[in-house]
Symmetry: C2
Subunit: 206 residues, 2 copies
């Protein structure tokens, strides 16, 4: 791509550094900003810079929070003895949306992934183990993605916890609500038969 302006080229280059945004999309986005009032570009730049400079992670659960301790951890109504281990803030938002979980979270900040060079030392694993060692946690729920990396991370933490008095569980894998059986993959279907639940439970859950 040959640009008629260095400023334009630079803006497009920086925009195209974002994941999933190629040069063409970046150019489209930048030209859109040029057609909008200057204030919009300033708001966007300010919001990004402010977040990046002033971002704070909850001292307890490592979720993004404007306060030292996030709202969830500070809430006296939440059950501090159950901790749900998740990958990032999106998963906290997704689980909070279900209104089905009243415990606390622990945000790892990623998954163990040798392919991407991410090891346990890059994640918030030590603070999780320390929390368990303090002895106030009854149950850890692993709620990572059902991928190779997620399973590896679960297993790594599980091994680190050996000898400690804590229940570990993972969220149920099975057929999604509303899914047709014939389109389900064999592994999921196989697991959902092995891990079948009493029919009464399924009625209660609805």
């Amino acid at each position: 791509m040959e640009f008629s302006s260095k400023l334009l080229e630079n803006a497009v280059y920086e925009m195209s550094q974002l994941p999933g945004i190629g040069k063409r999309t970046a150019l489209r986005l930048v030209l859109h900003l040029l057609r909008q009032p200057e204030a919009q570009t300033h708001s966007l730049s300010d919001a990004l810079t402010k977040l990046r400079d002033d971002v704070n992670f909850c001292r307890n659960c490592h979720n993004i929070s404007d306060t030292e301790i996030c709202e969830i951890c500070a809430n006296p109504k939440r059950d501090k003895s159950i901790v749900c281990v998740v990958e990032d803030v999106r998963d906290v938002m997704a689980i909070e949306n279900t209104s089905q979980f009243k415990g606390l979270y622990h945000v790892l900040g990623g998954k163990i992934s040798p392919m991407e060079g991410i090891g346990p030392q890059d994640l918030n694993v030590v603070s999780l183990i320390n929390k368990v060692k303090e002895g106030n946690i009854k149950e850890l729920i692993f709620a990572l993605s059902s991928t190779m990396e997620g399973d590896t991370t679960n297993f790594y933490i599980y091994k680190q916890l050996e000898g400690h008095d804590v229940i570990t569980s993972t969220i149920a894998r099975g057929i999604s609500v509303g899914d047709e059986l014939e389109y389900a993959d064999e592994v999921t279907l196989g697991r959902s038969i092995l891990n079948r639940v009493p029919f009464e439970n399924s009625i209660k859950a609805d």
Copy 2:
């Protein structure tokens, strides 16, 4: 979406104002920036703000340019008597890439679109008409998209030019090079038969 941080919510909101970027994508992009060094966010913000504040349009053709007159208009080797009328800077880049055009451009900055409330007064039409009135232009090539809005814009400019001594042409519509006939739409195929060219021309073009 419930956010655990106002800063995060704000950044996601501003990002989601860009076209084709929903809240989820915006959150993914913002979280990506948080995982990268601070410098990346600063470069992005600076590049966008600088472009928006200092952007300059060529006084002659209205293309984005860092100089008062863009490189193309300033190039003495270009034929100033042929002007290609395009919608925006992307079209200039696309045509320049073909290396088939040695004239100048005129960037309208959009198309007439009553649906989006864009009329001729929002585009660089007056300066085009004035250029033609000055009498140095022999041919205007309309190279707008082949849509209702593009055709309307072509026709509007064409009507404004009545009585002026200038040749007007549009870029050829037809079957794309490499396309199979059976998948072409009827309108394009019909036009390409009506506007057939001598076989010798097609050999020369290759």
